[in-house]
Amino acid sequence: MRRDVFQAIADPTRREIISLIAHQSLTPNLVADKFNMSRQAISKHMQILTECGLLTLNIQGREYYYSIQPKKLNEVYEWLEPLRELWDKRFNQLDQLLENKTTPKNQKL
């Protein structure tokens, strides 16, 4: 399975976890309390988020806290770039065709 920001945000529960932890660092139990879902399920989502690099686990005394990785989160906001590149490539190809004056005559329109 792919482990990147897109995998991380593809699931609505994971997106909710991200916004919770973006506000403040939380222990796994505090996160699980917010959801009507088994602790195992939440724990699995947190594990995926950690593997995707969006969360880090810190130990403070006897407690484990999850905190957000702001730099990684930024990639979420930059997710448009690949789409822009796709359209850009497409449109550059179209430019080349539009510039080539012979193409339309050869095409049955």
Binding site: I9, K89, F91, L94
Partner: protein, 164 residues
């Protein structure tokens, strides 16, 4: 000598919309043809090294463009654009969806609504593509598909064409 134009993409997450805007140095009628005739779409729709191949085209309200994009390693993604409204030369709206090689929609992806508008400018044509998603996760899924397709990898395409 034409300068390379910038493709602008902006988002409106509250309304799950993405806007793409691009200018072309060509008259609106010509740009419109390239967007609506399958023989012309096949020439530019797939980012190289991918190739778009039309399976069927019926450009009218209620009709659809069914095509596949073939990758350099023989991989293939098929999609269909179901046309909703057409205002010839000015705009058209459509539902964009991934499908199998028989044209059946892929249930893992929800449709994306497209509104494409064409405007005459002093230097040519401005094209605006407005995509509306059902869910933000759909945007992520489509981007992921794009990554798999290697759409973002080959940057050299334009240079290659210019060198010819």
């Amino acid at each position: 000598m034409t300068t390379k134009k910038r493709t602008m993409v902006t988002k409106d997450m509250a309304n799950k919309k993405l806007f793409t805007v691009r200018e072309f140095d060509a008259p609106r009628e010509k740009v419109w043809e390239y967007w609506t005739k399958s023989s012309l779409l096949d020439l530019w729709w797939a980012p190289k090294p991918w190739k778009a191949m039309t399976k069927s085209m019926d450009f009218r309200e209620g009709g659809l463009w069914f095509y596949c994009m073939a990758g350099p390693e023989g991989e293939q993604h098929c999609a269909r654009l179901d046309y909703l409204t057409i205002d010839p030369g000015n705009s058209f709206t459509a539902q964009d969806s991934f499908c199998d090689e028989a044209g059946n929609k892929n249930a893992d992806f929800s449709d994306v609504h497209w509104a494409n508008r064409f405007y005459t400018t002093p230097t040519g044509t401005r094209v605006e593509v407005e995509m509306t998603f059902k869910d933000e996760a759909d945007i992520a899924k489509i981007l992921e598909m794009g990554f798999e397709g290697g759409f973002t990898m080959a940057h050299g395409n334009l240079d290659e064409l210019l060198a010819k």
